[in-house]
Amino acid sequence: MSEFLQHLVNMLVLGGTYALLGIGLTLIFGIMNVVNFTHGVLYTFGAYVMFIVVQQLGLNFFLALPVAVLAGWLLGAAIELTLLRPLRGSDIDTTMLVMIGAWIAMQSGTLWIWGGVAKSVTTPFPESPLVLGPVSVSWLRLFVLAAAALLIVVTYLLINKTSLGRAMRATFQDHDTASLMGVNVDMIYTSTFAIGSSLAAAAGALLGPVYVIFPQMGDLAAVKAFAIVILGGLGNITGAVIGGFILALAEELGAGYVSSGYRDAMGFLIIIAVLIFKPTGLFARAERVG
């Protein structure tokens, strides 16, 4: 029983970060319809910004987080302006190839700058964990869960309750009509990509200190983010959050009670099942056809 409770706590902590990865990608992949292969690199980038600010500049850990989010926003905006804007209107394959190229180039860039040896970031949290009966969890991970929850709520409100969010949804539903209604469509494309990117960087900045930081850390994260988005339904923020927790639960229980060797396979088995039985994702709204 105590083992089961510990698995549940692990699931909550892991699920929060998966959710954060998922909502960033669902904005870009689900709403903008860009197969964003740079999501994992932006995650890595966020982690390295933490490393620079905390370890190399010696600044405060909590100050470094918003810096990483802002840096992710700027890098995302730069990618949109230089790579995606000239390609707008071209087919999805072309965009995908360009994004794969950007992914490889940026990953090689991090390897070139920081080398392959993993880095770690020191945090202000105590090393001894919080112990509640049979369950124990590190303070750092609790903080990560809280920060992820905050970012998720802020993103949800931004998309659903603000005029910027309305303009975003309008733009990607019908680009021309939104433009006729006075929406600055160019600005919306750039900000959506930048917001999605900043969420990826935030996830990296939060998880970098939990794990270790190295150039390929984003690869597995990106694969999981795509899985979460497909699980939750494209463009659905609530779906991505729930998808994140489902993936974490499948991994925890799969590793705990089935076989740890197949831990990462568990999530993908669920994806296959979802694609067979509910191809639009678990929480996709009915789509207008035609």
Binding site: V13, G116, S120, Q216, R263, D264
Partner: protein, 384 residues
């Protein structure tokens, strides 16, 4: 026009000749290591150690009157790439001998290529038993197979009063091989084996496996993986309040990197290693060890890398000794010469003994194994 063409042809011919002549000035050694991917840190250390050996040999005039040249290729921590890289080194760079490929799965992937092209390889790090028992006569291993590690560990299990152990190992030939060899040794000793948990080589979150181990009734966990994953395991074990004794194997722990990155979480952990850079005087070859460490520091590398990089250093010296003995840089002669060398490695004498099925034995030297413990952020030696 014809004359111009003729001139071009002459220049091309001259370049080819000079090029060929320049090539023959050096003896190439192929180095097949993971410089990117999950094992990037370790592979890079090994390559840096190899370069120290090459520079040392060349500074003394090289071998057979020629300088040696390392042709270094990245196998990306990926077995498919490791095999492709070996093929490229042998067929395109025409190296007569190789060193590689760090991980057991990487080395095992390269092995059929060695038979295909009849080229020998010094295995500097891999510890899966399979490498020297499947009958590949082109393999010469200087690292201890996990059975040798287990045998060395046998002496101390009584002192540690082990009763029941769990395993947490990397899910590849190295990890699974270690779990097998150590289980066998421990069962003979009357120690019971509990859980055998695995993790993917790129996995970053081992909380699920550790939670399971936390609630088992064993008192010790044997962990086998490379340094980056070890750091994560120590941190996550501490966060879960896992109070069991942790012993790591495989010799790729880089204890100083663990201390730097896992902090207090590393205290109390024990590690089976194959080199003692902290206590050069206790190594089998103190003079060479001191030289190597000072050279390593002079080049500005992190001290933590010494426990990996010494294998690259020893590996290249082993290869050089075989070339010298062979008297010519040809694959067959070098392969035969490996059986006759006897050099002082940083971790004991490197002399190859036959291992594996008769008629197609691999070479295996018998390096030393040490047990160290991390206490208060410092490395202490335990007597085996």
């Amino acid at each position: 026009m014809t004359r111009a063409l003729g001139l071009v042809r002459t220049i091309a011919l001259a370049t080819a000749l000079f090029g060929g002549a320049a090539q023959a000035q050096t003896i190439k050694i192929g180095v097949n290591e993971p410089l990117t991917g999950a094992f990037a840190a370790s592979g890079t250390y090994v390559v840096n150690g190899a370069k120290i050996a090459a520079d040392e040999i060349n500074a003394k005039g090289g071998i057979l009157g020629k300088k040696i040249e390392l042709v270094i290729e990245d196998n990306k921590s990926n077995p498919t790439e490791a095999a492709a890289v070996a093929e490229k080194l042998i067929t395109s760079d025409k190296v007569p001998v190789l060193m590689g490929a760090w991980g057991s799965s990487l080395t095992l992937a390269v092995m059929p290529k060695l038979i295909e092209y009849e080229t020998a390889m010094v295995v500097e790090t891999s510890s899966s038993g399979k490498i020297t028992t499947t009958g590949n006569p082109f393999i010469f291993r200087i690292s201890p197979p996990s059975a040798v590690e287990a045998a060395a560990f046998k002496g101390i299990v009584d002192k540690l009063a082990l009763k029941k152990v769990d395993f947490l190992v990397i899910n590849n030939d190295w990890g699974r091989g270690t779990a097998e060899d150590f289980s066998k040794m421990m069962k003979d000793k009357g120690i019971s084996i509990g859980l055998v948990e695995t993790m993917d080589q790129g996995a970053q979150d081992m909380s699920a496996q550790l939670s399971k181990i936390k609630s088992s009734d064993s008192e010790t966990v044997i962990v086998t993986t490379a340094v980056d994953q070890l750091t994560l395991i120590f941190k996550q074990a501490a966060a879960l309040g896992l109070k069991k004794r942790i012993i790591t194997t495989g010799g790729s722990q880089n204890p100083d990197q663990i201390i730097a990155q896992a902090g207090a979480a590393a205290n109390g952990t024990m590690h089976l290693t194959t080199f003692l850079p902290w206590f050069p005087d206790k190594t089998p070859n103190p003079e060479a060890t001191n030289y190597f460490i000072s050279e390593w520091k002079k080049r500005g590398f992190e001290f933590a890398g010494c426990t990996e990089s010494f294998r690259g250093y020893d590996g290249i010296r082993t290869v050089a000794a075989a070339i010298e003995k062979a008297g010519k840089a040809e694959p067959a002669a070098i392969k035969a010469a490996f059986w006759d060398i006897n050099i002082k490695g940083l971790n004991g004498d490197i002399v190859f003994r036959k291992s594996g099925p008769e008629g197609k034995e691999s070479g295996q030297s018998q390096p030393n194994v040490y047990l160290i413990e991390i206490n208060d952020g410092k490395v202490e030696m335990k007597t085996l």
